[in-house]
């Protein structure tokens, strides 16, 4: 029997923490991730958590990646097993040659371990109990003590960790010094009793640059602040609640009148999603920039209003932080499963604009842009995030804002324009782009008022059930949607090093895994041109990209290949030319999965010539 040698890797490994929900481990684990960043080494952390507040298992996974691969990798090189409930499964998930870190205070039978891994026992409970008497302190500092031990084992610079603790507890000297003390308790024990460092280790590098570390939901909320949103109405739902909470805290910092101290925003927690979208529609109708944040079940509830927004042409911004459906589905797991539900939300013939950011930086940009688009197009704009982007810290380029930028408030007829005698027809297509003018309520004493309704009406907003009048309006809405095509963010294309007949389409949070997969596939001899779709309606370049290749893989995180369906439906593409690559178990898609799926498919295509016997 060959002995499995321990994994040896510098700046390229995955550590997974198995914890109990509510044990206070989250901040210690985040501290671990951040301290590696301070070494100049990129990390990509992910929360894997249950729909629960206290007691159920939760995991935190940190991918340490000098090469900057920010997608989930799959597999675990080191397990920090702090949860007896999940012990067996956790031990089983360690890669051969990997490491197990556990609390060795209580002896464990050898049958509980594996022979092909390195087992590191630290008597965390014993150290904690001999130092602290308060039960809450014991719990919290135990987390910092294991962090200290990991510092020694993975060769982290303790000064960098101390610096981070210092920033976190600035002005709270007592907390600061006690945390630093706990850190050293763990580190010193490991240095004295274990062989440090391990084969896995962190070495200082310079691969982080000026990038920032932020959750997508917080970035999207900041985009709403910068984009001029003044009204936010929402109903709590995982994984979107932190959008509204972040918007609240950003507004408290940046949106109070310096003189009066009063709020330049209004945030209402609605009684349900119907009220939330109703408030958004009412505020937007009245000329304010308004948004809501929700997830799948909320979208289902909002659809009647979304149809009103489409037909009566009222701006709205909906941030949909997608989670696994259908129904309640898996509320704390990620998917890209609302593409169809949002693109065609509501009864009757409707189509809506969707934006697909790949990371927090784009979530910020697209969130701000969504308000311009909503007012320019006078319709609902969906910002399609998902749990993987929304609720995880992600390394991304710094957020940027051009101070010369002015908000595009769209076609609004003012009192002056009405006074000049401009012809105002609320649904009159004066410019040929399908977009009519609107007036805000209260504009003029005798001109420009109209009656907004979800029923059919003519170009001057007069109620009508005439077939021709109805069809005229529906045709204009199609024209408007065509106009949208050139306003939304364009797809980004990257060609393979060598000419190829094959392409791949992908969007949103699949992005980092896709980038990494391309490298793996190239190494296997497969060349692929790739295009990242960033919005619906699809730009004409999507159809030409498909036309330029024999066939194109469409990689997405749902069962029914929803983006593929949308492309087939909207662009009249032969479905045979679009090969679905689908990942939908609720975990984030990995480069390994993409590379294996596409690689296998490509291998099947290779025709091995039959060798005929030469006679």
């Amino acid at each position: 029997m060959s002995v499995q040698s321990p994994i040896s890797s510098v700046n390229d490994f995955v550590v997974r923490f198995a914890n109990v929900n509510g044990s206070g481990s989250a901040s210690a684990n985040e501290l671990f991730a951040r301290s590696i960043l301070r070494h100049g080494v990129p990390v990509s952390p992910r929360n894997i958590f249950p729909s629960n507040i206290q007691g159920l298992p939760t995991w935190y996974e940190v991918r340490v990646t000098e090469d900057g691969h920010l997608g989930a990798r799959g597999g675990v090189d080191m397990m920090v097993a702090m949860n007896p409930q999940t012990w067996d499964k956790d031990i089983a998930s360690i890669e051969p040659g990997g490491y197990l870190f556990y609390d060795s205070t209580k002896p464990m039978p050898s049958s509980k371990f594996r022979e092909d891994i390195t087992v590191i026992g630290v008597p965390l409970t014993a150290i904690t109990n001999s130092t602290y008497t308060d039960p809450r302190q014991r719990q919290l500092f135990k987390n910092i003590i294991y962090l200290g031990a990991l510092c020694a084992l993975l060769d982290l610079d303790p000064k960098l960790v101390e610096q981070l603790i210092g920033e976190q507890y600035k002005g709270k000297e007592k907390l600061l010094s006690s945390n630093v003390h706990a850190l050293h308790l763990g580190r010193d024990w490991a240095l004295q009793n274990l062989k440090c460092p391990l084969g896995l280790r962190v070495k200082k590098s310079d691969k982080v640059g000026d990038r920032i570390f932020i959750e997508g939901n917080s970035a999207a909320a900041l985009g709403a602040v910068y984009g001029g949103a003044t009204v936010c109405a929402w109903y709590p739902i995982t994984p979107s609640s932190s959008v509204a909470e972040a918007f609240t805290s950003h507004c408290k910092k940046y949106r109070h009148d310096p003189e009066t101290g009063k709020a330049k925003y209004a945030i209402v927690q609605g009684e349900d999603e119907l009220a939330s979208i109703g408030i958004v529609i009412g505020a937007s109708w009245n000329g304010a920039r308004a948004f809501t944040a929700t997830s799948g079940p909320g979208i289902s509830l909002m659809t009647e209003f979304i149809g009103l927004s489409y037909f009566a042409e009222i701006p709205a911004v909906i941030m949909n932080i997608q989670r696994a459906g259908p129904s309640t589905g898996m509320p704390t797991r990620t998917q890209q499963c609302d593409v169809i539900a949002c693109a065609y939300a509501s009864h009757g013939d409707t189509k809506h604009v969707l934006l697909f950011p790949e990371d927090p930086a784009e979530a910020f940009e697209f969130a701000a842009a969504a308000f311009d688009l909503a007012e320019r197009l006078q319709t609902t704009i969906f910002l399609m995030l998902d749990l993987d982007i929304g609720m995880n810290h992600r390394l991304c380029r710094p957020l940027k804002w051009d101070d010369a930028k002015q908000y595009d408030r769209g076609k609004v007829m003012t009192a002056e324009m009405l006074e000049e005698g401009r012809d105002f027809g609320r649904y009159l297509d004066v410019d040929g782009d399908g977009i009519p003018y609107r007036t805000y309520p209260g504009t003029h004493p005798t001109k420009g008022s109209y009656f907004t309704r979800g029923t059919s009406r003519d170009r001057y907003a007069r109620y009508s059930e005439e077939g021709a009048v109805y069809a005229d309006n529906m045709q204009r809405l199609v024209r408007k949607f065509e106009t949208a095509q050139d306003m939304v963010p364009r797809p980004l294309q990257a060609n393979a090093a060598k000419p190829t007949k094959y392409g791949v389409l992908y969007f949103g949070s699949t992005s980092p895994a896709m980038d990494e997969a391309i490298g793996i596939l190239e190494a296997r001899g497969h060349q692929l041109d790739r295009m990242r779709i960033r919005a619906f309606p699809f730009h004409s370049s999507v159809a030409s990209f498909i036309a330029d290749h024999d066939f194109v893989y469409v990689v997405e995180q749902n069962r029914d290949a929803q983006l593929r369906q949308l492309i087939v439906n909207e662009n009249g593409i032969d479905p045979v030319r679009l090969v679905p690559i689908l990942h939908y178990d609720g975990t984030p898609i990995t480069a390994r999965f993409i590379a294996n799926s596409i690689g296998d498919h490509q291998d099947h295509l290779k025709v091995t010539p039959l060798r005929k016997a030469v006679t």
Partner: protein
Amino acid sequence: MTYIAKPKFHHPGLKKNELGYTHRDYEGKISTLCAGCGHDSITASIIEACYELSIEPHRVAKISGIGCSSKTPDYFLGNSHGFNSVHGRMPSVLTGANLANRDLIYLGVSGDGDSASIGFGQFAHSIRRAVNMTYIVENNGVYGLTKGQFSATADRGSKSKKGVTNTDNAIDLVAIALQLGATFVARSFSGDKTQLVPLIAAAIRHKGASFIDVISPCIAFNNHAGSTKSFDYVREHNDAVNRLDVLVGREPISVDYAPGTVQVVEQHDGSRLALRKLDADYDPHDRLGAQTFLQKHAAKGQIVTGLLYVDPDAEDLHTHLDTVETPLNTMDEQALCPGSAVLDKINASLR
């Protein structure tokens, strides 16, 4: 009928209000409701109240849900923006509109199906939130547009036109509004304009959540014997606790009132409500007393009308949210965007 244009000219001697507007300036399109519909009388009362208050017509936003009652905003204040929204969702649309621009007057028009059934939650929550609005329910106890089904305000034991007896308990929206903290609560009858017009005027001047339940018989489906929302039934069982005059400006209180019979309530905006007491024991400042009074009289089959509760020191949602005085919809990037220098600092804090 809407396809018949309403003639614009009017008698040159038509009376004008302080702003120089006549009644006609507050009218809308010709009603498409049934001849004799109670809702048309409410429309006329809204026109009258706005004329008397000398409101600039375009400074009102009229918002409704779906149903016969919700069609009526097309029939008054033709120079105001109107919004016939989604069934049962007028309150949320109105709340959003109010947040966007606190300077307009918000008139929410709804029905009993719209507010007591499909939109019961939105009705309740807009009242709870103290949205500054006048919320009028045109209450006929039936679904008119779908031809006569019972609504949730139909009294138990009331008979439908087809002879079916309602076995479900009725929702009293006035009782709910009182419980949820509405700061102006009234009930009236579409057949009693002299009572209704000043109630609407006072509600518009009230800063806070004003709710008026107006019993408004459905001439087509709920005006028969056995109905408790018919013209005859409401006239017979109407128990008015007071009559109201709204005094705007410095005009003295009329000498017509007998001493001790009038209670004057001064509202935040300086307007005064002169309440002529019909029931000597009724105190419109006593929320709990009003609730008990209503229930006692309801048990006797009486419909209590009048100004049932008013809190002259009411607050509204904007007070609670501490929003700026400037309407949010007028703010531009100068006022709203923190700018790149702040963003650089935010970036630095995220490294």
